[in-house]
């Protein structure tokens, strides 16, 4: 094990390495050079004066934000001799399960490709390119025939894989007892219980103000809301990522949320971000990918049919088609247990020099994928900005919801935590549902995979995602899932089948998330 000092210097070295050569680096260098002309910079105290200037002009803050961002996406510190795949996922059985799942998905994609006779990628003829350029802002009006295409997989297929996960070192042959777990997920991962979460989520406690609770009509704004908004404006003017993240734990005011989130994610929408987006757009115009059809189908099936998100259909194409082609996303595979699927140039199967990552960003979309983007359309309407924010949210959080890993924010942990919370605090309900063949996870899984997008009303969803960003963890999603069951427990006790349980939990659009979470975490009798 490394000692703390070594760990820290290693981390610093890694961050410096990553920031070297970025635009921020060159900008700061340029600023430092230009400031030499200024009268207050003296030769005797050059270093200090330049540092002071950079601080006063806000460049130090920008650097701080960039470092803060890197800390979020760094793989966890480990021994220098660790092979990279262990960094991605330390547990061997998880790695194996993820690898075989990936094989399955790729096989499914390839067979669809052969069956339909559609190439994985092809260059568009000039006329088609021109047409697409003209139609870029209204791709939703296109009605291609997608009936032959099916989504590569749906959340319930993924659930079956998670249910079959077993740790080979764990002896699960003991008799079923009160100590055994009643849920579907049978892996021994460490998940937090309510007392631990009360400490971790202290800002959500009953005595502390929250948006989503203390901004409701009957509460006078002077009690919490006005002050919170004032602080929010101050955080924005200071342009401090870490402060914004802390602030977001108590919710972001509607008028400030867009700016706060982009500050937390350090999504600046600089000219080079816009340039990068336009390059991706050009990529979409030049080449047609098979995954494009999958994206089209997904948007048409999910977001376009939603009462509120249907308006944003065009934006969804503009973001997701570009996302598929963004090789910068490949960086996140250093800490994602998944590995990008490889495809081979025709006729060269197995030859590594002819392997390409497919799709270019390494992420094969599944049924419901577009719902990760849809809520963001409420906040950002400039495509390049929307894209930048989505990509950052994906590489920090969303990827964990559909890859098999032991991470605390990973879907496996979330499922396990959901089931454990239910079994500990609502044992009667859990037992009843289990007996009638309505395992709770079968209903809650689809909510968690999408981080509740499309199930909650938009304003409530955004309040939930405020906390995901604020606590840098998806754990709160599992807590909400359990809280929903607790809320509808009375009705659920009366159901006699999985179908009727689904019916009771079909409509979550009237739920208020913060009271549910707060009551579950802080008012449950332990």
């Amino acid at each position: 094990m490394m000692d703390e000092g070594t760990e820290l210097s290693l981390t610093i070295a890694q961050i410096v390495q990553r920031l070297k050569g970025t635009n921020l680096h060159s900008q700061i260098e340029r600023q430092a050079k230009e400031c030499l002309h200024r009268p207050e910079i003296k030769l005797e105290s050059l270093k200090d004066d330049v540092r002071h200037f950079l601080k006063a002009s806000g460049w130090e803050k920008k650097l701080q934000n960039a470092v803060y961002r890197e800390l979020h996406v760094q793989p966890p510190p480990c021994h220098p001799a660790t092979p990279p795949e262990h960094t991605k996922e330390p547990l061997a059985y998880m790695r194996k399960a993820q690898a075989s799942w990936e094989k399955r998905i790729l096989k499914s994609l390839n067979s669809m490709c052969t069956e339909l006779g559609v190439p994985l990628a092809r260059k568009r003829p000039a006329i088609e390119q021109k047409e697409l350029t003209n139609k870029w802002n209204e791709m939703g009006t296109d009605e291609p025939d997608l009936s032959r295409f099916r989504p590569v997989y749906a959340p319930k297929d993924f659930l079956e894989v998670l249910i079959s996960l077993r740790n080979p070192n764990h002896d699960s042959s003991e008799e079923a007892s009160s100590k055994s777990y009643w849920g579907l997920v049978q892996v021994p991962l460490q998940v937090r219980d309510i007392p631990q979460m009360r400490e971790a989520y202290s800002e959500l406690c009953l005595t502390s103000g929250q948006l989503g609770i203390d901004d409701l009509t009957h509460v006078p704004p002077d009690l919490f809301e006005s002050e919170h908004i004032r602080i929010g404006k101050k955080v924005l003017s200071e342009q401090d990522s870490a402060a914004a993240q802390q602030y977001s734990r108590q919710g972001c005011p509607t008028g400030l949320r867009a700016d706060l989130w982009s500050l937390i994610l350090n999504s600046t929408n600089s000219p080079e971000d816009v340039l990068h987006y336009n390059q991706l757009k050009a990529g979409v115009i030049h080449h047609d990918l098979l995954v494009d059809k999958l994206i089209y189908k997904d948007v048409k099936l999910t977001a376009s049919n939603d009462d509120y998100y249907f308006v944003f259909e065009d934006y969804l194409y503009q973001v997701l088609l570009c996302f598929s082609r963004d090789t910068a996303v490949l960086d996140h595979f250093s800490y994602n247990s998944a590995t990008p699927p490889k495809s081979y140039i025709q006729g060269r199967v197995g030859e590594e020099e002819f392997a390409v990552v497919y799709p270019p960003n390494g992420v094969i979309p599944f049924h419901g994928f577009s719902m990760y983007v849809a809520p963001l359309c409420f906040l950002y309407n400039e495509p390049s900005k929307l894209y930048a924010v989505f990509r950052e949210m994906y590489v920090r959080y969303f990827f964990r919801l559909h890859s098999i890993s032991s991470s605390a924010s990973g879907i496996v942990s979330l499922c396990l935590q959901f089931e454990r919370l239910l079994q500990t605090h609502l044992p009667q309900l859990f037992y009843h549902l289990r007996e009638i063949g309505a395992q709770p996870l079968r209903v809650a899984f689809k909510w968690m995979v999408r981080a509740f997008s499309g199930y909650l009303s938009t304003d409530q969803l955004l309040l939930l995602w405020d906390r995901v960003l604020g606590y840098d963890s998806l754990e709160i999603v599992a807590v909400l899932a359990a809280a929903v069951f607790a809320f509808r427990a009375e009705n659920l006790m009366e159901v006699t089948s999985l179908a009727s349980a689904e019916a009771v939990l079909a409509d979550l659009s009237t739920l208020k998330v913060m009271p549910l979470i707060q009551i579950f975490l802080f008012a449950t009798v332990i």
């Binding site: 802002n137 209204e138 009006t141 009509t217 509607t254 008028g255 867009a258 049919n305 308006v311 906040l379």
Partner: protein
């Protein structure tokens, strides 16, 4: 003796609902607001005296005001105009035009003989300048439907309902094809016939959703200013017809206002419907309209349960009571000069709770 006339009116029957209420068909004063031309004339008269007082685009009745229209038309060549039949609804018969030759049928020509005029009687239409830079959400145009209840014209007493909706056109906005009705007309009735219309989907947003979206995009201050401008449209349009309408304190009118926002977030009055459609396009819509009708009847107050000093009844807020109505202020803010209007369009509508509190009988109080 019933203090109100109640009779079933087919055009106002709600979706599955038993409600019906009569807008007095007799009385020219009423039709002054209902038929598009009536309000137009009155508003245009007022605007000539006080330009810019109400945000509404130049409107003319054809064929009677044909020459005035041509004058205005020639002043802005290349602009687009929309023609709407006066007595029809739900988007029927509406079209856009840019050239005078498209509307020669409505040309008022003194040279035509008496017989000719009788034979080829054209339907009365209203021509209005088309708003070419509407506010778009994701490339789509939308307009707002807002419900305003008037219980008395002199003195003017009017209520604004908190709920309403934004109706989206199902295709992307572009001025290239003005023949494509589906792009430009946002009436749900027209959208229903569009080829990609999915009846399960609907193309409406609740007013709350729209307000939240605009707040997220433009900030609270801008949006509050916008809604204040919208309030002005309601009040001023009603004030302009005050003197013309036959006032009967035993009658009430529920209007459906159509408002369009332009790119600068300025609201424009498109038209006022005296018989707003009460059929529902979805479960959510049905509930909203039921609540609207319930609250309308609460205000009409046939059982005499209200005192008459209420500023809010269910989802309705008292907007104008022979003068502006302000929100209740508590003593601490009494010193501040910033009084805000009592309207809450697009805000939270906790009407059930409010009605429970309001209609709770106070022991010992005598009711007529």
């Amino acid at each position: 003796m019933l203090p109100r006339n109640m009779a079933k009116n087919k055009t106002s029957v709600g979706y599955k609902g038993p409600y019906g209420y009569q807008k007095r068909r007799d009385g020219e004063g009423r039709s002054c607001v209902r038929y598009k031309c009536g309000l137009t004339n009155t508003i245009q008269d007022v605007l000539r005296q006080r330009p810019g007082w109400i945000e509404v685009k130049e409107t003319f009745e054809l064929p009677s005001e044909y020459h005035l229209f041509v004058e205005e038309f020639k002043r802005s060549p290349g602009s687009t105009w929309i023609m709407k039949p006066v007595a029809r609804s739900q988007g029927k018969g509406i079209f856009l035009f840019r050239k005078l030759k498209d509307i020669t049928d409505w040309k008022k020509d003194g040279s035509r003989s008496e017989e000719q005029r009788d034979e080829t009687q054209v339907e009365s239409y209203v021509a209005q300048r088309y708003i070419e830079n509407p506010y778009l959400i994701s490339g789509r145009k939308f307009d707002l439907r807002v419900y305003v209840l008037v219980t008395s014209y002199i003195p003017l007493r009017t209520w604004l309902y908190r709920d309403g909706f934004a109706r989206f056109s199902s295709t992307r906005f572009s001025l290239n094809s003005i023949d494509d009705h589906y792009v430009h007309l946002t009436n749900v009735a027209v959208q229903k016939t569009a080829p990609d219309y999915d009846p399960e989907k609907g193309c409406k947003w609740q007013m709350q959703q729209l307000r939240r979206y605009l707040t997220a995009r433009h900030g609270t201050k801008t949006v509050e200013a916008l809604f204040k401008d919208i309030d002005n449209i309601f009040v001023r349009s009603l004030q302009s017809v005050q003197k013309v309408i036959i006032n009967d304190k035993h009658c009430f009118e529920l209007y459906g206002y159509d408002i369009l926002l332009d790119q600068d977030l300025k609201p424009w009055l498109i038209e006022v419907n005296a018989s707003p459609s009460l059929t529902a396009s979805s479960q959510e819509d049905y509930e909203m309209k039921c609540h609207l009708l319930e609250d309308t009847l609460h205000i009409v107050d046939m059982e005499g349960r209200l005192i008459g000093k209420e500023k809010r009844v269910g989802g309705y807020d008292l907007m104008w009571n022979d003068g502006p109505v302000y929100r209740d202020v508590d003593l601490e803010t009494l010193g501040s000069s910033c009084l805000s209007a009592n309207t809450h369009l697009g805000c939270v509508n906790d009407r059930k709770k409010q009605l429970c509190q309001l209609l709770k009988p106070i022991p010992g109080q005598k009711r007529i």
